[in-house]
């Protein structure tokens, strides 16, 4: 038997190939586009900014595609005979699958940030990037609060993304396993699986919004009238006496609990019913 470290290492090695290949292709394309506009119009010209716009768009689209691919890759690993033959416990296998997806997604996001910053450098040196000192002065007292909020949101996004992988695995695999129990064949079986998939999607989406809704209901004074407000004096919440830190962490806790429930349900389905594809 191998442990979590080994299975994580093997999965990361295989999955990160897609990460490096996608990043490589994306970086080459972005730099070529930026260079083209920079050289053609000059790096100090506003027109060269078209390159930045294209770079931002490419990063956005590739980022969305990559997140979908990470989730699909998790599904493919769960179904692959090659992977399923590996002598490892179902718990370690599933956790490694979710966490390697999450890790590669984080690497991808950070690398994209770096690519974008590098794309901006020539414009910075060309003197076209100006920082509005007056606006900066207005925000100065709230910078630390905004950074904290950014870190919190990044952490929240990580938990949500892990939940997204578990969510997708759970609904697709449950639909497949339930479909296998039905006395149906061929297209009828596929149709039944699609119906089950949609039903589970609706059910779990409702579950997800209900849990977060319950948290909102719990912390706010008037149910769904609760919201976060961000303005040039920082971040606030409305309709509550609890204060932002408490609410934020209650939100996070609710999300973690929901992801844990999804993982546990997926573990049960995976262990009991998910077969490797022939």
């Amino acid at each position: 038997m191998i442990g979590f470290k080994q299975i994580f290492g093997a999965m990361f090695k295989e999955k990160s190939r897609t990460t490096w290949l996608s990043l490589g292709g994306e970086a080459v394309f972005i730099f070529l586009v930026s260079l083209y506009f920079g050289i053609r119009y000059g790096f100090s010209s506003d027109s060269a900014g078209v390159g930045i716009g294209i770079a931002a768009m490419v990063i956005f689209c590739v980022g969305i595609w990559y997140q979908i691919d990470v989730i699909m890759a998790a599904y493919r690993v769960n179904r692959s005979q090659t992977w399923r033959q590996v002598p490892v416990t179902a718990g370690n296998f599933l956790t490694a699958n979710v966490l390697t997806g999450l890790t590669t997604a984080v690497i991808f996001a950070l690398a994209n940030l770096l690519i974008f910053v590098i794309t901006l450098l020539p414009f910075n040196f060309g003197g076209e990037m100006r920082i509005d000192s007056q606006a900066m002065a207005t925000f100065q007292p709230y910078v630390s609060s905004i950074i904290n909020w950014g870190l919190y949101m990044a952490l929240f996004a990580l938990v949500s993304f892990a939940g997204g992988i578990c969510f997708w695995l759970l609904i697709t695999e449950s639909a497949s396993v339930l479909g296998d129990f039905l006395p149906l064949k061929g297209k009828t079986s596929k149709f039944a699986k699609a119906v089950i998939l949609l039903a589970l999607l609706a059910l779990l989406s409702w579950g997800s919004s209900s849990i977060l809704g319950a948290v909102i209901g719990m912390v706010s004074n008037s149910g769904f009238d609760f919201n976060f407000v961000i303005d040039n004096t920082g971040l606030h919440t409305s309709q509550t006496d609890l204060g932002l830190p408490v609410i934020s962490w209650l939100y996070m806790l609710a999300e973690i609990v929901y992801v844990a429930i999804l993982w546990a349900a997926e573990y049960f389905v995976f262990k009991k019913g998910v077969e490797a594809k022939k």
């Binding site: 038997m1 033959q85 079986s189 009991k272 077969e275 490797a276």
Partner: protein, 232 residues
């Protein structure tokens, strides 16, 4: 010592019976031919043993281990390598095996690869069906497993290589390990097998020693064909 013990195994999918009340015990160190017509349930039986197929009833023990996850450590089974893209090289696949199978033997792999005339730098996409089957056999026998499950391993391999591989399998397999080869063509593996298990009508119809069959019949093939006489 028992390498495999299956009791009252039944496996159904979409209300279709695939295996029904299978009882089978294999002793360690044997070479066993698992035979039967197409769709008899040979592959499904191997998949259940390897923990790849679920939702079955009954018990399966490999080297005394019933837990699905834990029994995988004793099994080396042929795999279509579908997890690897065509652009991957043979050495990448070996790297993967080295990472996930503690019993993977590098030297053995290099030796078998050389025997098969395969180059570690070749890409999977450039391999013919037969060459890919050879690679799969090389990967399986590079592990020091207790139970080898070979599911129609020679389907794309040319006749000359097939004979060479069958003879060499005896050297590659650890002495105490059990080897199960599923095939519907018996003539080439017949000389090396110790036991024959015949799957028919979703269950084990016969389990006999090859020696007994050879003593009573002209050949194992003739004995096997006798079960299908009069059938289309």
């Amino acid at each position: 010592m028992k390498a495999l013990e299956i009791k009252d195994l039944s496996y159904h999918k979409n209300s279709k019976t695939i295996l029904e009340r299978v009882n089978l015990t294999l002793e360690a160190g044997k070479i066993v031919a698992l035979v039967g017509a197409n769709g008899a349930g040979k592959t499904s039986l191997m998949r259940v043993i390897a923990g790849l197929a679920k939702q079955y009833k009954g018990s399966v023990e490999v080297c005394g281990e019933a837990d699905e996850d834990r029994r995988k450590q004793y099994i080396a089974m042929t795999d279509s390598l579908s997890a690897f893209r065509d652009s991957r090289k043979i050495k990448d696949v070996a790297d993967f095996y080295r990472l996930v199978y503690p019993d993977f033997d590098d030297k053995q792999f290099a030796d078998i690869l050389e025997f098969m005339n395969l180059n570690a730098d070749e890409r999977l996409g450039s391999l013919s069906k037969g060459m890919k089957e050879k690679l799969i056999i090389a990967l399986v026998f590079s592990r020091k497993a207790k139970l080898y499950l070979l599911d129609e391993p020679f389907s794309g391999v040319d006749a000359m290589s097939r004979k060479k591989i069958i003879k060499s399998m005896l050297l590659w397999k650890p002495e105490e390990a059990t080897l199960v080869i599923s095939d519907h063509v018996l003539d080439e593996i017949a000389p090396v097998i110790d036991e024959v298990v015949l799957i028919k009508k979703h269950s084990v119809l016969e389990q006999r020693s090859a020696e007994e069959i050879r003593a009573e019949h002209e050949s194992i093939e003739e004995w096997y064909e006798g079960f299908y006489e009069g059938e289309e």
